[in-house]
Subunit: 258 residues, 2 copies
């Protein structure tokens, strides 16, 4: 019995079916089992955990080669995962891999990330899930190292166990491979995006805005965060959960006089 | 000096500028200060923490009466909060109120909720924020009780302090007011949406799918959850944070051999 042959791996992303990072993720994945790719037809960056409820969802089979089947889905990354689990796959996948994202999903960027939402949707459904991101937004970014580290982390995740309800958020710095110091387990840094709306006027004289922004790490000296790890040439890996309860405030909140 | 007059409150939602629940939220809010409403032009249910980066954002001033200014924004609830803080408001608001949502945002529904994303975006920006939801999806739902409980909770939140980085998720059962037993501080229940895609064929013969689903509470007997509280006729209130780190798994993850 060949475990690799039996294993069913779902691959998704938020940069869309044509993204170079998706190809790199698929190449890494197919070393470990049969792969089904279900990825957004168009880019869905910044879509977070959005689901499509007001328009219908379309799915198209793109290709089927050896151990890789590929579908495009008109929805968000979370729609892709739901569609795969409920309609396209013969059974629940053994692993979900999301990425490799073009650009960082460290610190609070995780909250806006469609790529990480794909992984979080996986762990909501009790499926071991990992999201991968490379710190390079470029369309033609070089994913060679990110794919290498993805393979190392996938191998270890299959040997060990990611507990139910937890997924992994992996970010890879975009530097010379010889400069990468290793893989560092971290917590999510506390940072925020400072918005700078780009205010313009259209040809008819009406105002419009482009959302832009710059990221600010609010705890740059904390050595246990993902931001610190990435700035210090480590691959960061943060365990992530979907229970948003702020347990530390429950006892105080109970003292309020409602 | 009149504190109520000086206080600046931002109101948003995900059901859109015309939702009855937004009017109820605004009525509750204007008891406590000057209100600026910035709400999506169209409904944005299920948009989670999505931001609009691929299309420009439009904003229109709808009205200005006494202590209430109202703007519509073409983007998501998170876009509305960012736009308010960075462009429309004279200063950082003292309080952000999101809702009152038509339908529950308890348990894992919080992850898909645009209304709660509005509140979470507030606490990311260190602004005390509360999301409110009524367990009634109907367009003409009766928000009388939900508004009443919103006022009680807002009053208490202003007397006490919501710590930085935490917001509140309030859900109100849709039952006879005399049956409501009170307000219960809870944790987020562990539940999932079981999808049932509605598969149809369009007039040209092509397949399409509608995303539907039913919610399943995976721990129905746990008396400290929001789901239990709502099923037992309490208003539920869960403190929520944006740090998704699964701290309980960090030590184990450090033992993996990368």
């Amino acid at each position: 019995m060949n475990k690799e042959k039996e294993r069913l791996i779902l691959v998704t992303n938020d940069d869309g079916i044509h993204a170079k990072g998706l190809s790199a993720m698929t190449e890494a994945a197919c070393q470990f089992g049969n792969v089904v790719v279900v990825a957004p037809t168009d880019g869905q960056s910044g879509m977070a955990h959005a689901i499509t409820v007001k328009t219908p969802i379309r799915v198209h089979k793109i290709s089927e080669n050896k151990n890789i089947k590929t579908y495009s889905c008109s929805g968000t990354p979370v729609d892709c995962v739901k569609m795969a689990i409920d309609v396209l796959l013969p059974r629940k996948p053994d692993l979900i891999l999301s990425g490799i994202n073009h650009g960082a999903n460290s610190s609070s960027s995780i909250i806006y990330s469609g790529t990480m939402a794909g992984a979080i949707e996986g762990c909501l459904n009790q499926i071991p899930s990992i999201g991968f991101s490379l710190l390079d937004f470029a369309k033609d970014a070089d994913f060679t190292d990110a794919r290498h580290y993805a393979q190392i982390i996938i191998r270890e995740a299959l040997k060990n166990t990611i507990p139910a309800g937890i997924c992994l958020n992996v970010n890879v710095p975009s530097i010379n491979p010889s400069e990468i110091k290793g893989i560092k387990v971290c917590r999510q840094s506390h940072g925020v995006w400072r918005e700078e709306f780009d205010h313009r006027t259209d040809p008819s004289g009406y105002d419009y805005y482009w959302l832009t922004g710059t990221f600010e790490d609010l705890e740059p000296n904390a050595e246990d965060t993902d931001e610190w790890a990435l700035h210090n040439n480590y691959v960061s890996i943060v365990p992530v959960k979907f229970d948003l309860t702020a347990y530390q405030f429950i006892d105080n909140l109970k003292k309020w006089k409602f």
